[in-house]
């Protein structure tokens, strides 16, 4: 925010700027839907006074594929191939939540081994998602090289996913009843090799990014989320934790095997883009630690799948549930309603970006510099596909 003479900036009435575009003092431009500074396909309608944002409106709909409608026309089992496509960087959370909802409504218990494998895939997906974010965050402030490193290391993780499930991006590995296959032999050793590579990368990134004067100067004080904004804007995940709130569903409402793992909720108090980056960076180390804990404590043998009824005629008892899990971006939720037939009555997906990329971004962008808008957006780790589904 320009701290000099603000007489030429729009007057603020009832918390909103009064903008007369005909006065020719303001410029309205579009950032996106195809722009390196936006995350995915999303458009920001930006009104500028000089180089300062005075108004912003988020437009979504460029990636709407109607998943919720598609799910209503498919059997319960057919749905699991669709839900992973809701989120590109971290599809496994969707797979897990869909499976967890179906299992809860139908009263199926998953074997212990499957729970461990599910937790492993969720943590691997979290790490892969954070690697993608880290590259985006650095690139948004002009350090494209970091993005090349991190995306290359994400590829090593995708190799592991490919070996595990056959798919690199969409794994379709977690199915209602368990997981599709057991861990391949020697996967733990190969995963450990990848983790060691990522640890070396994180040390480099720490030196290059977090000790970089430009990154510090531009990200400190950018997009401050105050404590009272957290609930009123639906702020969750690392953004809420960077605002000092110890909220993590893995601890607050332990699912899968998280209560058997040792970890603490990482919080901070700065609540700006730099603090959020620090929180996520620490969570990446936490992910690596959790993956190692899972690999060392996982049972060697046991079933990875509970037989479910004939999937072609599988009727789920009528009922409704809301299942949640902590994704890398925050709390992810599936509201599932069954009317007792072989098809879902309604499945509603609630991703963290739904509130972060619209209500919160529209609020935080005001008075930021246009050049910092990309960095701000990435610091909220927004993912448009989960907004519009």
């Amino acid at each position: 925010m320009w701290e000099g003479d603000r007489s030429k900036f729009p007057e603020i009435i009832d918390g909103k700027p009064v903008i007369d575009l005909d006065s020719q003092k303001y410029v309205k431009i579009w950032q996106g839907p195809q722009h390196p500074g936006v995350t995915g396909n999303i458009a920001l309608e930006v009104t500028l006074c000089g180089d300062e944002v005075v108004d912003l409106k988020t437009h979504v709909g460029y990636l709407h594929r109607g998943f919720e409608k598609l799910l209503e026309r498919r059997t319960w089992m057919q749905g699991f191939t669709i839900v992973c496509r809701i989120c590109v960087p971290e599809p496994d959370t969707n797979e897990y939540l869909f499976a967890a909802g179906v299992e809860e409504l139908s009263g199926i218990t998953v074997p212990a081994k499957a729970e461990w494998i599910r937790t492993l895939t969720l943590e691997m997906a979290r790490l892969a998602s954070f690697l993608m974010w880290l590259g985006g965050q650095a690139a948004a402030f002009g350090m494209g090289t970091v993005g090349q490193w991190t995306v290359a290391h994400r590829d090593f993780l995708l190799d592991i996913f490919e070996e595990l499930s056959g798919g690199r991006i969409y794994h379709m590995y977690i199915v209602p009843g368990g997981v599709r296959a057991d861990l391949p032999k020697g996967l733990d050793r190969r995963l450990e090799d990848v983790l060691k590579k990522i640890e070396i990368l994180l040390k480099d990134v720490d030196r290059v990014l977090f000790n970089n004067a430009i990154f510090k100067l531009r990200s400190r004080g950018l997009g401050i989320v105050t404590r009272d904004m957290v609930d009123s804007y639906g702020v969750v995940g690392p953004v809420a934790r960077a605002a000092g709130l110890a909220r993590d569903l893995r601890k607050d409402h332990p699912y899968l095997v998280y209560e058997k793992l040792d970890f603490d909720i990482i919080t901070a108090t700065g609540s700006d883009a730099f603090t959020r980056a620090q929180v996520r960076f620490k969570e990446m180390y936490q992910c690596i630690d959790l993956i190692r804990q899972i690999l060392s404590r996982m049972p060697d043998s046991g079933d990875f799948y509970t037989p479910v009824p004939n999937v072609l005629h599988w009727k789920i008892p009528a009922g409704a549930t809301f299942v949640q899990a902590e994704a890398s971006r925050g709390e992810y939720g599936y509201y599932m309603v069954s009317d007792g037939t072989a098809y879902p009555r309604r499945i509603a997906v609630r991703g963290p970006s739904y509130s972060h990329a619209i209500a919160l971004l529209q609020k935080l962008a005001i008075n930021t510099n246009i050049a910092d808008l990309a960095g701000l957006m990435v610091s909220l780790q927004t993912c448009p596909p989960e907004i519009e589904r």
Binding site: G61, G234, G319, R346, R350, I358
Partner: protein, 180 residues
């Protein structure tokens, strides 16, 4: 949670109270009392976060069911408030004054189900669809296949290579198709 429910029952006529999980409860309430109970839950009972606002279409009963899911972080409990609306008069009071991000949910519901929330900011601006000229697409009576056939007609001059016809004509021309 039972204490909160019994305290709410003193002020509101709650129906269909059910415990889905120890950390997830659902209850139904009449449309007129919905905003009051949401305000009370937010300000008095610690359900400070609106997690989800969505709708379910019960076409056979001619009603929409709105579901508000709120979360109490200090107790780690979620509560789903269900409100029934008649499909012909699908209008509900807005809650954008309680949560800033509620307007996004309401905009989506207006577009996808045709449920109106008068007074909600930008309610008529649309959410993801552009130039939509049919009934709201998430309603149960919207037929996706019929819409696709009517809207995305086959391009003139397009040749079709159906694998089944191709195999029949090229590879198995003597195959009778299973008929004797």
């Amino acid at each position: 949670m039972e204490k909160i429910i019994s305290r709410l029952q003193l002020s509101f006529a709650l129906q269909d109270i059910r415990e889905q999980r120890p950390d997830l409860w659902f209850l139904s309430i009449a449309k007129n009392n919905a905003v009051s109970i949401l305000t009370s839950l937010r300000d008095i009972h610690g359900f400070t976060s609106l997690i989800l606002l969505t709708a379910v279409d019960y076409l056979e009963n001619n009603v929409f069911q709105l579901t508000y899911i709120l979360r109490n972080y200090s107790m780690n409990v979620s509560l789903g408030i269900e409100v029934k609306l008649p499909r012909e008069a699908a209008v509900m009071d807005s809650i954008h004054h309680l949560w800033q991000h509620a307007e996004t949910f309401q905009r989506e519901l207006k577009e996808m189900f045709g449920i109106d929330f008068p007074g909600s900011p930008g309610i008529d601006e649309g959410f993801v669809l552009e130039g939509w000229d049919n009934i709201p697409p998430l309603r149960r009576d919207f037929d996706t296949r019929k819409y696709a056939r009517e809207t995305f007609f086959p391009r003139p001059g397009r040749t079709k290579h159906d694998p089944r016809d191709q195999m029949r004509s090229k590879l198995y021309s003597d195959y009778s198709g299973g008929e004797k």
